[in-house]
């Protein structure tokens, strides 16, 4: 059984009179240990797909089975718990809490899973070591460079040992060199057996991953070709 089984999923938004079919009848399997990129131009529905897979949203139609839990039927409370235990998010704008230091930011998911203070600190430090940021544990996010902030965000995504990590344009706000090191880090994590889903509009980044899913107009495009996707942008 796959880690995620998506069957005939549609997501429909209503903007006043207008009906927007953000996702249209998508079926998709994600296996444990996959390193996938979801690629598509902006407005194609890739963010919506990520939100559904990341349990931030529920589908209008269809079923999603995530590690044995049917997402479309889950309560908000269950969804929050799934986000907490099974999913890690990495965002384009890092999304660290500016008032907390790096260590506290990394501890945050564990606070909501009710882990005791001592264990929380140990695991947060271990996660920071995994992204080689242990020496910045007491710094505020504002005192760090973009790359360091993104590494802190990755540490936060890792800390609860999730089944999947979603990265939404993780290099979008970094210079190319720093972006490369972050991608390197994801590749390393993938080698360790983590399931990683990169969401990007950039075919060069998508080229890093063994599996690519291209979304166009809310549907999975038949060919996931980096060259074609690149042509798209022209």
């Amino acid at each position: 059984m796959a880690l995620v089984e998506m069957r005939n999923v549609s997501k429909i938004y209503h903007l006043g009179e207008e009906t927007i079919r953000a996702l249209d009848d998508i079926s998709l399997d994600i296996e444990l240990g996959d390193f996938i990129s979801i690629i598509g131009p902006s407005g194609s529905g890739k963010s919506t797909l990520m939100h559904l897979l990341g349990c931030l949203d529920s589908p209008t139609q269809g079923t999603i089975n995530l590690d044995g839990v049917m997402i479309q039927a889950a309560s908000p409370r269950q969804l929050a718990a799934i986000r907490n235990r099974k999913i890690g998010f990495v965002f384009q704008f890092f999304n660290l809490l500016p008032k907390l230091n790096v260590l506290q930011n990394v501890e945050l998911p564990m606070i909501y899973s009710g882990i005791a203070g001592k264990e929380r600190r140990q695991r947060a430090m271990a996660a920071l070591e995994a992204v080689s940021l242990a020496n910045r544990a007491k710094h505020r996010p504002g005192q760090l460079s973009g790359g360091q902030q993104q590494r802190a965000a990755i540490a936060r995504a890792l800390v609860n040992d999730p089944r999947m990590i979603f990265a939404d344009e993780p290099t979008g706000n970094l210079d190319s060199h720093t972006g490369d090191t972050i991608l390197q880090l994801f590749r390393e994590l993938s080698r360790q057996g983590r399931t990683i889903i990169l969401v990007t509009h950039d075919p060069e980044i998508a080229a890093v991953t063994p599996r690519r899913i291209e979304i166009r107009d809310g549907k999975i495009a038949p060919k996931a070709d980096a060259t074609l996707a690149g042509l798209d942008r022209l």
């Binding site: 059984m1 939100h51 990341g54 931030l56 949203d57 590690d67 044995g68 839990v69 908000p76 409370r77 269950q78 929050a80 718990a81 799934i82 986000r83 907490n84 235990r85 099974k86 998010f89 965002f91 999304n95 660290l96 809490l97 008032k99 945050l108 998911p109 606070i111 909501y112 899973s113 009710g114 882990i115 005791a116 203070g117 936060r156 609860n160």
Partner: protein, 473 residues
């Protein structure tokens, strides 16, 4: 594949609460000035609630003291009154209150314990080239001493013999002494007027006794403090307490007692030497105006007040031949007035304090709403890492409660200062009394307001859509 348990462990709830409170405190500390301003509303509400209740409690105590000072609830006064309309044609037969009523009550009303006649005199006292008009100058029997809770400090009360012989003796209060011979504050020593002579409407009287100085607890404390710390005495302070001292106590100090027969003989025209030398109480009834200005009696117990008054009414109806030219006045009316006043003061003060607490609560709600709209992103992040609606709800609610409770605690401290301030401007001289109950109620009110003010912002925050919240810049 078995899904891991999604529910947090049981022991984690309190731990999570602790972290939530910590983060609430951190949030408040991060916006020190804003939080302080927000707290101010609750602070003022709580302190005004405490101060108001302290003020009312002080007034209540003062009023009750005064009530006891004038003879307590058991005392009933009988006064002459106009004949009722249906008996108008009998007006000529109305005899007024006389000494006979006193005897009749003594013999025929078992529920009446003490009876004291009084014959009031409008008199000017002079001695030592000074003049004084006492508030209350009247002829009484020695029993008036107990009746009106008087205590002799110097000399003695006149006795039955003085009364029988209509001697020119009097017992005065400290107000008379202070006016005619000087007060201890002015002279620095206590004058004992016993043995001095004063002229009452020109008739010489010997002072044979003086009452103790009556004052409220508050006045006594102030006076003792001033005595113990003469160097701190401000010139205005003394004058103020003289001028505004509790009215009831001043009246009591401005009392002059004369033997009843003396007043009758000397000041009710028509009295003769013969009647005096005859020394017969009944005989003098034939001369002069025998009417009393009133009589007072005490009832056996306050529980039987109504029965006692009815008994006294029956007796007096008999002696007055059925003409109701008298009325009863009880202190209960006054006690009732005190109760009503205290109730009203509590109600209006409580209302004002309640409104200011409400305004404080609205301030908190306003700030919490502003705070969550500038923290939409934070809430989105927290939700994306697994915070449920409950977690966010509790977080915002705790912040609101922490602000309110801190404001409440500071308010309790501030109420002390406010109480002192109010005591300076209060319309009475009664020191405010800060009650534990008032403190507890005020504190509980602040916590409750915190909860109520936090509910709407907390709900709003908890319902934020995480996707929208993360997009928010």
């Amino acid at each position: 594949m078995s899904a891991p348990s999604l529910a947090p462990g049981a022991g984690s709830a309190s731990r999570q609460m602790l972290i939530t409170v910590q983060s609430g405190l951190r949030e408040i500390w991060a916006h020190k000035f804003r939080s302080l301003l927000t707290m101010l509303g609750i602070l003022l509400g709580v302190s005004s609630l405490v101060a108001m209740s302290a003020l009312v409690a002080g007034m209540e105590k003062g009023a009750k003291e005064s009530l006891i000072a004038i003879g307590g609830l058991e005392k009933v006064r009988v006064e002459a009154q106009d004949v009722p309309i249906e008996q108008r044609h009998l007006t000529d037969d109305a005899i007024g209150i006389t000494i006979n009523d006193v005897y009749a009550l003594r013999h025929s009303a078992p529920l009446v314990t003490r009876t004291s006649p009084e014959m009031r005199l409008y008199a000017t006292l002079s001695a030592n080239d000074k003049k004084f008009r006492p508030w209350f100058c009247c002829g009484v029997w020695p029993v008036a001493l107990e009746m009106n809770e008087h205590v002799i400090q110097h000399g003695r009360m006149f006795n039955e013999l003085d009364d029988e012989l209509a001697r020119n003796v009097c017992v005065i209060g400290t107000a008379t002494r202070d006016k005619l011979w000087g007060s201890p504050e002015e002279l620095g020593r206590e004058v004992n007027p016993v043995g001095e002579t004063l002229y009452l409407n020109g008739v010489p009287f010997t002072v044979i006794g003086m009452f103790q100085h009556y004052e409220s607890d508050q006045d006594r404390k102030e006076r003792e403090y001033a005595k113990a710390h003469p160097e701190e005495q401000k010139p205005g302070l003394r004058a103020r307490s003289r001028r505004r001292g509790s009215w009831v106590f001043y009246l009591k100090n401005a009392t002059v007692y004369l033997p009843l027969n003396t007043v009758w003989m000397r000041f009710r025209y028509g009295a003769t030497r013969a009647a005096i030398s005859a020394g017969n109480g009944m005989a003098v009834g034939t001369t002069g105006d025998p009417r009393l200005s009133g009589l007072e009696f005490k009832v056996v117990s306050i529980d039987q007040l109504a029965e006692s008054i009815q008994q006294a009414r029956n007796v007096l109806m008999c002696t007055h031949h059925g003409i109701e030219d008298f009325s009863f006045r009880t202190q209960e009316d006054w006690a009732e007035q005190i109760k009503t006043f205290v109730h009203n003061a509590r109600l209006s003060g409580g209302l004002i304090a309640g409104i200011s607490l409400l305004v404080g609560g609205i301030g908190i709600m306003n700030i919490m709403l502003a705070s969550i709209s500038e923290r939409v992103r934070e809430i989105g992040i927290r939700k994306s890492v697994g915070a449920g609606m409950g977690d966010i709800f509790i977080q915002i609610l705790v912040e609101s409660v922490v602000i309110a409770v801190l404001g409440g605690l500071v308010g309790l401290a501030a109420s002390y200062g406010l109480v002192c301030l109010i005591a300076q401007f209060a319309p009475t001289d009664n020191a405010p009394i800060v009650g534990l109950l008032a403190l507890a109620v005020a504190f509980a009110a602040s916590a409750l307001i915190g909860v109520l003010a936090g509910i709407i912002p907390a709900l709003k925050a908890a319902r934020l859509n995480p996707i929208e919240a993360l997009k928010y810049e």
